[in-house]
Amino acid sequence: MPSSILYYVLLFMLLFTVFQVRTLLKSQAYKELIVAVVLFLLAGLYGLDIAFNWHYLPNPNALIYVLEPVSQALETLLQVTD
């Protein structure tokens, strides 16, 4: 299943190309176009990482797991049961 993510990446890129690129070029919104391309690249790279099981890119969950000690301390303090 992970490889199918590439089809969705391509679908979104295709939709953007068909419905947005021309309008953006016409209105000379180059900054918006660059931001969109960067976001597509980011999503595309993560898509490839998932599809081919490379695991090269960092998982953003690491930013949430940093909070584990705080969360555990809070749960102990407030006697939260699972």
Binding site: I5, F12, I50, P60, Q79
Partner: protein, 368 residues
């Protein structure tokens, strides 16, 4: 309408959808066990306070949203850092909302691949966002009656199943109650902080802004009553054990020969869940636009949508990871950010206003 597409009434309806839409899987105040309804009832005031704070911020700078006000009053660098922290909070919450709705859809379409369901949700939301805020407002106008009907129907259906003895003992221990208050204040009540991004798009806020408070309170009341019924029907143990306690509740509901009514309520789940995603998706686009200093936001709909699709798979690949991250670790980040961010901006905005008025009066006293 002077380029402001929403009315106060439409935004109020959106607030109404936001709260139950965020509680599809999780029921508010779960950590407080049998006192969950009490915890949710107390946490309502946290959301009400947030609503008041963002309204005050907006009244100081009408026409600007909170992510535009933040760098203005705090300075560019600290303001942008705070905006990025707020963006990350919204991003995690949006992914959680997408995961919740996908889980609900998985019950109905168990053989559909998860990615396809996520893609369908995001493409549907993208289409609505492309149509503009006015269309979302009209959708809210159209959907409110249906949702109210189903919510009231569900209350009536659950009454015969309730066993109030399951609510006892009340206030057994204050610590889990406190945990329930904190967790339910974070999710869903403090989620109203997202409205700080939508207030500049409302054209009659000054004259009819109060209606937003009323609909927030109605929605919060429904959530508290849902909690009460959930515990009174299932008991605190089962309510915590089930992945979809609300779904189990709907499964038990029925009258006479009319049983298995849960599919009837699917419409309610889908509408509220989709609205919550729509609001957060649009909010993310607003924040991205303001952080990067872009003029148009329509160009961001599909790229941000694709990022949501990919990262929902990267960050929440299994239910265990989602439950661990979403309910244990994420509130530790989102709660302080969603509370402190508008408060810091409000204090800074008040100081900024005071200094400016002081400077202006000084100029008037000593002309030339």
């Amino acid at each position: 309408m002077s380029g402001k597409p929403l009315s106060s009434r439409q935004l109020a309806f959106m607030v109404f959808f936001l709260l139950p839409g965020s509680s599809l899987v999780y029921f508010a105040g779960m950590a407080a066990r049998q006192d969950a309804w009490l915890a949710a009832g107390i946490a309502v005031f946290s959301g009400l306070g947030m609503l008041y704070v963002i309204m005050q911020v907006h009244s100081l700078f009408p026409g600007k949203n909170i992510t535009q006000i933040c760098p203005l009053v705090l300075g560019k660098v600290p303001g942008t850092i705070l905006n990025i922290l707020f963006f990350w909070s919204l991003f995690i919450l949006t992914l959680s909302l997408i995961y919740d709705l996908t889980s609900v859809l998985k019950i109905i379409y168990p053989l559909f691949p998860t990615l396809l369901l996520i893609a369908l949700i995001i493409l549907t939301s993208s289409y609505c966002l492309f149509k503009g805020l006015q269309s979302i407002g009209i959708l809210a106008d159209v959907s409110i009656g249906v949702c109210l009907f189903f919510i009231l129907l569900s209350f009536i259906l659950f009454i015969p199943l309730m066993d109030l003895a399951k609510l006892a003992p009340v206030l057994e221990n204050w610590k889990p109650l406190m945990a329930g208050v904190i967790y339910s204040a974070d999710f869903p009540f403090n989620e109203v902080v997202i409205l700080a991004l939508f207030l500049p798009t409302v054209h009659d806020l000054a004259s009819r802004g109060r209606i937003i408070y009323y609909w927030y309170l109605i929605s919060a009341l429904f959530l508290v009553l849902f909690d009460l019924q959930l515990v009174a029907v299932l008991g605190p143990g089962l309510a915590q054990l089930y992945t979809f306690p609300l779904f189990e509740l709907f499964r038990l509901a029925g009258f006479g020969d009319f049983q298995r009514l849960e599919m009837l309520f699917f419409l309610l789940w889908f509408i509220t869940g989709l609205f919550a995603i729509l609001i957060y998706f649009q909010g993310l686009i607003f924040v991205t636009r303001d952080i990067l200093g872009l003029k148009q936001d329509r160009a961001l709909i599909l790229p941000v949508g694709l990022c949501l699709l990919v990262f929902s798979y990267v960050m929440f690949p299994t239910e265990i990871i989602y439950l661990e991250l979403g309910f244990k670790y994420t509130p530790v980040y989102t709660f302080p950010v969603n509370v402190l961010y508008p408060l810091i901006v409000l204090v800074a905005a008040l100081i900024y206003r005071k200094r400016r008025s002081g400077y202006q009066s000084e100029q008037e006293v000593t002309p030339g």
